[in-house]
């Protein structure tokens, strides 16, 4: 087979430049993927990885540069062209139809049919079983997607590519949603695939994984091509320096905590799941005191979201009690919890945090609009006060926007939207601040800023509950770590004494404090 190949490379993207109004997303980038190799594409959020992949899939057309397949120049105008060239991708957010079976999802778009379009599923089943056998991908073809684990869903996505005989497989941040065990299995699968001659492009910003599985690594930074290195000739430190351009100090400066009274006391909290019939949060108890930051760590989807929903009142509890400042708020409305001193920086700022069609000033008062300073006795809004208040917050928290208070929230950048939410929630002078993934999708500067704000709240004697998926954040920001696994708190760790490895074991459910269980 190798004899037929005229080029060393399966796919080449040469000198790709792609501009958007006001920004060069890809500036003269070159990426060459060899046959049978695992090639990592490394870069921070906004480095230009997704744009480059969109160009490869024909979603965008590059202004400059060419794409070659097996040494021959090709034109890719839409994803169908990419498919025809044998390029397949496992997207970060899976493209699976939830109510379909694994089999249906795999054959969708490429169905084996007889006369009049009648599906011949048994043929497909045979092929799928053979493929799973060959590459070690255990999946039940007749299981419905919504019933299976994230890891199995990902295997379904991989099978989708293999079923179509794709030669070039792209994995976009594939480990973000997996447990360490599943990550290990995925790495093995990737190695198997490469051994069978598939060429793999592995998009990630996790250095350890790249070092573990990739042969070579191409690094992008702020839309520019930084270089391509052999992983066996490099170190994590070197890759990190290439990725961020400077040796960033992720460490957060903070004084030792001065903890006071218990602000939040959660007892035996149980919350139902929206996805499956089991409870998402099972019998969880913990406390948060004044002057400390407690972080709930864990892999995505282990009940953190539901825990927050239960805590803030977005979902009712099945069982258990929530006590804040000595008062039972288990049955209190969202509004009552808020006025009693709970602030909530939500996980999804577009879904919960902002009314995108409202102006910035109207978003600034989203939690306080009913207070007498913003609404008069008859029920009219006090527009002058609202404007003044909003201007004050914009100034104080350095929220940048085109037209100040009257800017539509929709037109602001993600970082500034998040800053606006943080300004709003902190300025409420809460007793308890619940911050859910407050730095998700933000650049390094914004992250540092937000961490400082959290620590400042702690030092002001507030209780802070941080929910985070990022290991760096979990290790650096809080005073205590609680690890959540499958809806339970399986361990409490001191960030000063623990290691990332130990944390990882807890997150994967491989280790748990037996005390907790009782």
């Amino acid at each position: 087979m190798n004899k037929e190949r005229q080029s060393e490379y399966a796919i080449e993207m040469l000198n790709i430049t792609k501009r958007f109004p006001g920004i060069i997303a890809n500036d003269n980038i070159t990426l060459q993927l060899r046959h049978g190799e695992i090639h990592a594409l490394l870069g921070e959020n906004g480095a230009g990885k997704s744009t480059l992949m969109s160009v490869l899939f024909g979603l965008y057309q590059a202004e400059e540069g060419i794409i070659k397949k097996d040494g021959k120049e090709v034109k890719i105008n839409d994803p169908n062209d990419a498919n025809a060239l044998g390029i397949g991708m496992v997207h970060q957010h899976f493209k699976l139809v939830e109510c379909f079976t694994v089999l249906d999802n795999i054959i969708l778009g490429d169905e084996p049919v007889g006369k009049a379009g009648i599906l011949k599923k048994s043929e497909a089943r045979k092929k799928i079983l053979a493929l799973s056998e060959k590459y070690g991908l255990q999946v039940d073809p007749d299981a419905v997607i919504s019933d299976i684990t994230v890891g199995m869903q990902q295997r379904t996505e991989i099978l989708k590519m293999l079923y179509r005989d794709n030669e070039i497989l792209i994995f976009d941040e594939p480990t973000a949603v997996l447990t360490p065990q599943e990550i290990e299995e995925l790495m093995q699968i990737m190695r198997n695939l490469a051994a069978e001659g598939k060429s793999i492009l592995f998009i990630s910003h996790k250095l350890a994984e790249i070092m573990a599985v990739a042969d070579r690594c191409t690094v992008l930074r702020k839309g520019k091509y930084i270089g391509t290195v052999e992983t066996k000739n490099t170190t994590m430190e070197e890759l990190s320096a290439m990725m961020v351009g400077r040796n960033v100090n992720f460490h957060v400066d903070k004084q030792p905590a001065h903890t006071g009274d218990v602000v939040l006391d959660v007892q035996h909290m149980t919350v139902a799941s929206k996805v499956h019939n089991n409870n998402a949060v099972k019998d969880v108890s913990f406390q948060v005191r004044r002057g400390e930051i407690v972080c709930i760590a864990g892999i995505d989807g282990n009940g953190q979201t539901e825990l927050v929903y239960g805590l803030t009142g977005l979902e009712p509890l099945v069982d258990g009690k929530i006590i804040m400042d000595g008062k039972d708020i288990t049955k209190s409305s969202i509004r009552k919890r808020s006025t009693a001193g709970m602030s909530h920086i939500p996980e999804d700022r577009h879904k919960h945090g902002l009314v995108l069609d409202y102006s910035l000033e109207y978003n600034m008062i989203l939690q306080t609009y009913f207070e007498s300073r913003f609404t008069d006795r008859i029920g009219f809004l006090r527009r002058k006060n609202i404007r003044q208040y909003s201007d004050k917050l914009i100034e104080q928290y350095d929220v940048r926007s085109g037209q100040g208070s009257v800017t539509p929230a929709r037109s602001m950048s993600g970082g500034n939207q998040q800053k606006a939410i943080i300004a709003r929630e902190i300025d409420k002078q809460p007793e308890l601040l619940v911050a859910v993934q407050p730095t998700r999708g933000l650049d390094v500067g914004a992250i540092e800023y937000i961490h400082k704000q959290l620590v400042a709240q702690r030092d002001a004697g507030k209780a802070v509950l941080l929910i985070s998926l990022e290991l760096d954040e979990v290790m650096d920001v809080p005073d205590r770590i609680l690890v959540m696994y499958e809806g339970e708190i399986v361990g409490e760790l001191d960030p000063k004494k623990t290691t990332q490895e130990e944390l990882g074991l807890y997150m994967a459910g491989a280790k748990r404090d037996e005390v907790r269980k009782a």
């Binding site: 509004r335 919890r337 919960h352 995108l356 989203l366």
Partner: protein, 366 residues
């Protein structure tokens, strides 16, 4: 000039005008297809409506009639747009309007109430009907369009049954208000003098306009309006902010219903129209309210003008040449306008794009 066209309100206005022109054009084409002979004259008459009359006194009197029917239409379109701000498509306005008509007529004819109590009862009855839709939406997740349609038919048959008790023996129509109970008729406060003695023009006129202003104030200046629009734009964020969603949904549909009920009272209590107890379709007023609401750019004050226009061409329909055409051609035009209102977003987007492009070109030249 550029700035002028960039203005959101101006764009909405232009888009509405475009919809109207296209609607009229299609109406004209339909007339041409049916019979080219009288098409031009008929479409002109639709647009002219009362101007078709020769004498100014007649014109002004007919204008009064159009205005009398515009007022309930304003109320119906306010009803639609108020609910739409919260993200609810209250097609049940039509049924709430029927409930209002039924309540006010029955109170007037059977119990001989005065005009104000009748009006209030109409609003209460319609609000209660709205509350049913709201309750089903908030607590049972029933699509408000489907429950609205079902309630439209239920209220129609209920109204037919109830009002049969106060109808003339010889005809399917309800008794004359002015003979049976003049005290239930809306006062004219001398307004009829402005319209050549047309007694159909009553305090309904100032009341409806007042209602439009009130709705505008509530939506744009108050805490309640702030909550409603937040819920309409992003109901998750509204929930997150602790707004009582279910209460707001029910309250909104109750207010929406009350507006429609008031509309019915503003028409039937002028005595201009009587209820036909055998009618087998829901009065079109509520549905025309959809056209007026969207044509008015979903703005309460825009609704006043668009309602007048819709009613104007609806009445204009009676001046078509009935040798070839039927008056429903006006309904065709207004439903085409509703259909085209679905494209308003697209039209505005295109305008923005054209403006942006011309600015780009300018920028390149400089």
């Amino acid at each position: 000039m550029k700035k002028f066209f960039k203005n959101e309100a101006v764009q909405t206005f232009l888009a509405s005008i475009l919809c109207i022109l296209a609607g009229l054009l299609i109406g004209y084409i339909v007339l041409l297809i049916i019979n080219p002979q009288g098409a031009g004259e008929s479409i002109q008459n639709i647009v002219k409506n009362f101007f078709t009359w020769k004498r100014p006194q007649q014109q002004i009197k007919q204008l009064g009639n159009t205005l009398a029917k515009t007022m309930p239409l304003i109320m119906c379109s306010l009803s639609i747009l108020f609910a739409y701000k919260v993200g609810l498509f209250n097609i049940g306005t039509a049924g709430q309007y029927v409930a209002g008509a039924c309540a006010s007529l029955y109170a007037a004819l059977a119990w001989h109430w005065g005009w104000l109590p009748c009006m209030l009862l109409a609003m209460i009855a319609a609000a209660l009907l709205g509350a049913v839709t709201g309750f089903l939406k908030a607590y049972c997740n029933v699509n408000e369009v489907i429950s609205g349609i079902m309630l439209n038919w239920i209220s129609l048959y209920t109204a037919n049954t109830i009002l049969s008790n106060v109808k003339e023996t010889a005809s399917p129509y309800t008794l004359y208000l002015n003979k049976e109970n003049p005290s239930s008729m809306l006062p004219t406060m001398g307004l009829e003098n402005l319209f050549n003695g047309n007694g159909n023009v009553t305090i309904a006129l100032p009341l409806a306009i007042l209602a439009a202003i009130l709705v505008w104030v509530i939506l744009s200046k108050t805490r309640f309006g702030y909550e409603l629009k937040a819920t309409g734009n992003n109901k998750n964020a509204a929930k997150y902010a602790g707004m009582a969603q279910n209460r707001n949904i029910i309250l909104t549909l109750m207010i929406s219903g009350a507006l429609a009920g008031l509309g019915a009272s503003l028409l039937y209590q002028t005595g201009y129209m009587r209820w036909e107890c055998t009618q087998s379709s829901v009065p079109a007023m509520g549905f025309n309210g959809i056209a007026a609401a969207f044509l008015g750019g979903l703005h309460p004050l825009g609704a006043v003008f668009s309602s007048f226009f819709i009613q104007h061409i609806t009445d204009g329909g009676q001046y078509v040449n009935t040798n070839f055409y039927s008056s429903q051609i006006s309904d065709v035009i207004s439903s085409v306008i509703i259909y085209l209102c679905g494209f308003v977003l697209f039209i505005k987007l295109t305008m923005k794009r054209v403006i942006a492009r011309s600015e780009d070109k300018k920028g390149a030249k400089q």
